[in-house]
C-alpha cells in the first residue's frame, strides 16, 4: 500500500507470473505528492515469508534508485556508523503467520511522482493437494488504477483454479476475471474507483485483505514431470493412484505446568480430533510427560473404533503440572516403536513416526538441547520420523527444528490463538498420509550435476517432491530418470526418459515469459536446502553450506538470511539520507518480534490477545 498524506496513489499493480510452480511477483505503486511542499511518501507491502526479495527500485523525477543485494555482514560493516547510531531503518518486519512486511519511505518534492517496484520470488509448495498464491492488499485509499494479475503457466496441465478474497463482497465477486485453458490460467482483478468505494460518495476503500489463488496440476505419469530449460532441469514428483501406507504413530505430549490453560485445552481438543482421523490399519500410542513419563498403554494399539474411543477419554483427562522431560519422553516413544517392530506387533510395511507436542525447553532429566538431539538421533538410528509441534511464542523453535531434521522430520510452530486446534489437526493431516517411504530420485551421474536433495524419507499425500539440477551437457535434451521407494504393498520403481520442453510450441502466443526460471528455481531450492543444512549439519557442513548459500544468494540476487538489500535514498536539502537495509527474517526473529509486540499489547482484562510469555516480578509503587 502507499499511504501518503495529501498524496494520491495513482496506481497499485501486483503482477504475478507462475511458471511451473515458480512464482515471480512484481509489485508496483506510483504516488503523486499533491502538496506544495515536499513530504515523505510511504510504500508498504506484504510478501509471503517463504519468498525471497530479488529486486527493489524507486523512481523519482526520472532518476532510478536501485537496491543492491550485499553480504549481510558487509552491509552491516559498511553502514556500521549509521547502524550503531540507530539511523538505518530495517525495511522488513514480521507480519502475522504467513507474511512479512516490506516498508520504505522517501521524501518527495512538491508536485512530484514516485514509483516503487518490489520483486520477489518463491517456489510454491503443494500442501493438501494444492498450491496457493497469497497476495495481501491494503491500499488504504482509493486508487485510480488498481490491478492484480496472475498468469499461471503449467506445462503439465492445470487441474483447477479457484480464487477467493477476504474483502470480496457479492458486488466485487464478478470483477475477478478467470480464464483457464489446458496449460495456462489468467486471473485478473481490477476494480474501478467507484467499485473500490465502501459506500457511494465516500472515500474509504473496500480493498483490504487477502487475495488467494489456489490451483493444482494434472498428474498422469508415475514418473512425475520433468522439465528441461536452458541447461537446467526440474523434476516434480507426486504420482497419482498410490495407496496410503499405514502409520505407527506415538503421540508424545507435553503436559508440564507451562502447558496449563489454553495450550492444554487446545491440545486435548486437537488430540480428540486427530484420534478420530486415525485409519483402522494405523497403530498408535500416547505418551504424556511432565517431569514424569507415563503412557496410555505399554505397546502400540490398533486404531479400532473401540480403542480410539478409549484413547479419546484418556486424552480428555490430561492436565498440566510439573517440569519438562523431553529427552525421557522421546526415548520412551522410540523404545515403544522399536520393541513393537522387533516383536512384530505392528505391520511390516508401515511407517513409524513420533509426533512431539511441546511448548518449551526441557528442565528435567537431560536438559542440554544438543545432547537431547544426539540422544534421539542415536536411539532412532533412522528408523522413524520425528515431527515436532512447537506451541506458543516461548518455545525454542530452533531446538525443535534441528531435533526433527536430525530425525528425518520437520518442526512447525503452532501459534497461540483460537485456531490452534485447527493448526494442530491440519499439520497432522499433512503428514499422516504417507504414500511412499525412502524415496530416491536417480539421474545419470554423467548427465547432471549440482543436484538438489534427491532422497526423501516420505512422500505425503497432497504434497510433492521437487528435485532440480544442472545438466552437465547443455545440449542434452533427454535423459533417463528412475524413482524408487517403498509403497504399501510393493516396492515402487519407475523409469522413464525426460524430454526438453519446447516452450514455443506449448505457449505459442506468449512472448518470452522468463526464460531462466528453471535456473532460478534450482537456485532457490538449493539455497533453501543449504540454509537448512547450516542449522543441522556437522560443523564442517555448516561452514560449507553457509559459504555456498551466501555465494548463490549474491549471484542470484536473493535476499536471504545471509544477505541484505541496501537501499540508498536520494539526498535531501538536509543532507544525505541514511541507508535502508532489507533483511530476510528467520523464524527465530519472527518469534522475537511477536513476543515483543504481544508484550506491548497487554492491557485489559479479560484479554483476548494471544498470551505473552509468563513473567514474575516484585516491585514497589
Amino acid at each position: 500500500s502507499t499511504q501518503p498524506v495529501r498524496a494520491e496513489v495513482l496506481s497499485v499493480k501486483v503482477d504475478c507470473a507462475v511458471t511451473s510452480r515458480f512464482a515471480h511477483t512484481v509489485m508496483t505503486s506510483t504516488a503523486l505528492n499533491k502538496a506544495n511542499v515536499s513530504q515523505e511518501i510511504f510504500f508498504e507491502v506484504e510478501l509471503p515469508k517463504t519468498a525471497f526479495i530479488t529486486n527493489f527500485s524507486m523512481e523519482i523525477d526520472g532518476q532510478v534508485y536501485v537496491g543492491e543485494v550485499k553480504e549481510k555482514e558487509t552491509a552491516k560493516k559498511q553502514y556500521e556508523k549509521a547502524v550503531s547510531s540507530g539511523q538505518t531503518a530495517g525495511l522488513v518486519k514480521a507480519s502475522g503467520r504467513k507474511m512479512e512486511t516490506f516498508s520504505v519511505s522517501v521524501n518527495i518534492a512538491a508536485e512530484s511522482n514516485v514509483t516503487f517496484v518490489l520483486t520477489h520470488e518463491e517456489l510454491l509448495q503443494r500442501k493438501l493437494g494444492q498450491y496457493e498464491i497469497l497476495t495481501r492488499v491494503k491500499p488504504k485509499q482509493l486508487v485510480q488504477e488498481f490491478q492484480i494479475v496472475a498468469n499461471i503457466y503449467e506445462p503439465q496441465g492445470i487441474a483447477y483454479v479457484e480464487t477467493h478474497a477476504t474483502f470480496l463482497s457479492n458486488e466485487l465477486l464478478p470483477l475477478v476475471e478467470k480464464t483457464v485453458t489446458e496449460k495456462k490460467a489468467h486471473i485478473a482483478f481490477s476494480p474501478s474507483l467507484d467499485q473500490q468505494r465502501k459506500c457511494p460518495g465516500c472515500d474509504g476503500t473496500l480493498i483490504d485483505g487477502d487475495f488467494v489463488i489456489m490451483y493444482d496440476v494434472k498428474r498422469t505419469s508415475s514418473l512425475g514431470d520433468i522439465q528441461i530449460v536452458n541447461g537446467y532441469f526440474v523434476h516434480f514428483f507426486a504420482p497419482p493412484g498410490l495407496s496410503r501406507v499405514p502409520t505407527n504413530v506415538v503421540f508424545v505430549i507435553d503436559r508440564s505446568g507451562s502447558m496449563s490453560g489454553n495450550k492444554m485445552h487446545q491440545t486435548r481438543e486437537a488430540m480428540v480430533a486427530i484420534l478420530q482421523d486415525l485409519k483402522e490399519d494405523d497403530y498408535f500410542a500416547i505418551v504424556p510427560f511432565d517431569d514424569e513419563i507415563i503412557w496410555w498403554k505399554e505397546t502400540l494399539t490398533k486404531a479400532t473404533k473401540e480403542n480410539v474411543t478409549e484413547a479419546t477419554e484418556y486424552v480428555k483427562g490430561l492436565y498440566a503440572s510439573g517440569g519438562t522431560n523431553i529427552n525421557g519422553a522421546l526415548l520412551k516413544g522410540v523404545n515403544m516403536l522399536l520393541t513393537d517392530r522387533a516383536e512384530k506387533r505392528i505391520p511390516e510395511r508401515s511407517i513409524n513416526m513420533i509426533l512431539l507436542l511441546t511448548d518449551g525447553m526441557p528442565n528435567h532429566g537431560e536438559t542440554d538441547p544438543k545432547r537431547i538431539q544426539e540422544n534421539m538421533a542415536s536411539a532412532n538410528a533412522g528408523n522413524m520420523t520425528l515431527f515436532s509441534l512447537g506451541f506458543g511464542n516461548d518455545v525454542d523453535y530452533s531446538f525443535l527444528n534441528v531435533l526433527s531434521q536430525k530425525n528425518k522430520g520437520l518442526a512447525r510452530r503452532i501459534f497461540e490463538g483460537s485456531d490452534a486446534t485447527l493448526q494442530l489437526k491440519g499439520f497432522y493431516e499433512e503428514v499422516s498420509s504417507p504414500l511412499l517411504s525412502e524415496v530416491d530420485l536417480r539421474y545419470p551421474d554423467n548427465a547432471v550435476d549440482l543436484l538438489t536433495s534427491n532422497h526423501f524419507s516420505q512422500l505425503f499425500n497432497g504434497s510433492e517432491i521437487v528435485v532440480a539440477g544442472r545438466l552437465a551437457d547443455n545440449n542434452l535434451d533427454n535423459f533417463l530418470v528412475e524413482v524408487v521407494g517403498q509403497g504399501f504393498e510393493d516396492n515402487f520403481q519407475v523409469q522413464g526418459k525426460s524430454a526438453a520442453l519446447d516452450w514455443a510450441t506449448t505457449y505459442p502466443d506468449e512472448k518470452y515469459i522468463f526464460g531462466d526460471f528453471t535456473e532460478r528455481l534450482w537456485a532457490y531450492l538449493t539455497i533453501q536446502q543449504l540454509l537448512e543444512k547450516r542449522k543441522s549439519g556437522s560443523s564442517d557442513e555448516k561452514v560449507n553450506a553457509t559459504a555456498k548459500a551466501l555465494d548463490m544468494s549474491l549471484r542470484y540476487s536473493f535476499v536471504t538470511p545471509l544477505t541484505s538489500m541496501v537501499v540508498t535514498k536520494p539526498e535531501t536539502e538536509k543532507g544525505p539520507d541514511s541507508p535502508l537495509i532489507a533483511d530476510k527474517l528467520t523464524e527465530e526473529e519472527r518469534q522475537q518480534a511477536e513476543r515483543n509486540s504481544r508484550y506491548h499489547h497487554r492491557q485489559t482484562f479479560p484479554s483476548y490477545n494471544a498470551p505473552a510469555p509468563p513473567s514474575y516480578f516484585v516491585d514497589g509503587d
Binding site: S256, G257, S258, M259, S260, G261, N262, K263, D291, Y319, A320, S321, G322, G323, T324, G360, M361, N363, H364, T367, G392, D394, E416, Y599, H600, R602, Q603, T604, F605, P606, S607, Y608, P611, A612, P613, P614, S615, Y616, F617, V618, D619, G620, D621
Partner: protein, 239 residues
Amino acid sequence: PHFMIELPNKDDALCFNINDKPGTIFTLVKDTKSGILVNGQIIGDKQIPADGKIYTYFWRFGIIHRNLGVKMEVSTNGISVFQDDSRLKLRWSNTTSIKGDGMDILLTKDRSLTVTLKDSVKFVILLHKVWKKHPYHRDYLGFYTLDTHLLSPSVHGLLGQFYHGIEYTVSNLRPGEVPEKPDATMHVKGRELNVTRGWQRDFRSDVKNGENVPCWFIHRNGTGLIDGEASDYIVSGLF
C-alpha cells in the same frame, strides 16, 4: 513491595504484597540444583507518613550462582560483581555492557540492570530514582525474572515457587468494597481464599509511570497462595 505472577496462558495474573520490618531479608528465588539464590532486603520510608502506614521496598539484592562462581550485590547505591577472585564495581550513573564468563551484564544508566546467567536465569533489576529531598520516599529497586525455564522443578522462594506454573480457579465473583474491585473466591492448593480484583504496576516499559496489570490480589501477605507463611522466607543474611 508487590509481587506479581503473570500467567499469560490463563490471560491472568496473581498479585500480593509482602511487608515486614525494614531491614528484613527475604528469599525470592532458591534453586539448589542449579545453584541459584536471590535474596532481597527491604527498606522503609524515611519517616512514617501522615496516613501512618509503613511502606517498604526492596533496596538491595544478593544474587549467587554457585556453579558459575558468581556473587552479585545490587543496591540502590551501586552494583558489585564477584567472580572467583575478581571483583567489579559498577555505578548506576553509567551505561555499560559486559560479557563475562557465563554471565552477561547490560547496565542502562540510572534505569536498569539486565543480567543473563548462562543456562539458568535472566533477570532485570529496575532502579526507581526518587527525588533526593522527598520527605518520605527513597530510591528502591524492582526485580523482574525474564527467563526461568532452565531452572529445576525444585526451584522455590517467594517468586521461584511459581516459575513452573500454578493451578487455580476463581469463582463466585461478587461486589467488593469498591465497585471497580470485585471480590471472588479462589480455589488454590486445596484452599478457598477470598481475593480481590485489582491491578499492580509493571515498570519495564515505562519506569516512571508503569503499566497497569490487572490481577487477583491475595490478601494477608499472600497467605494461602504461597507455600507456608511469608515469615518462612526470612533469612538472616543477604548471601
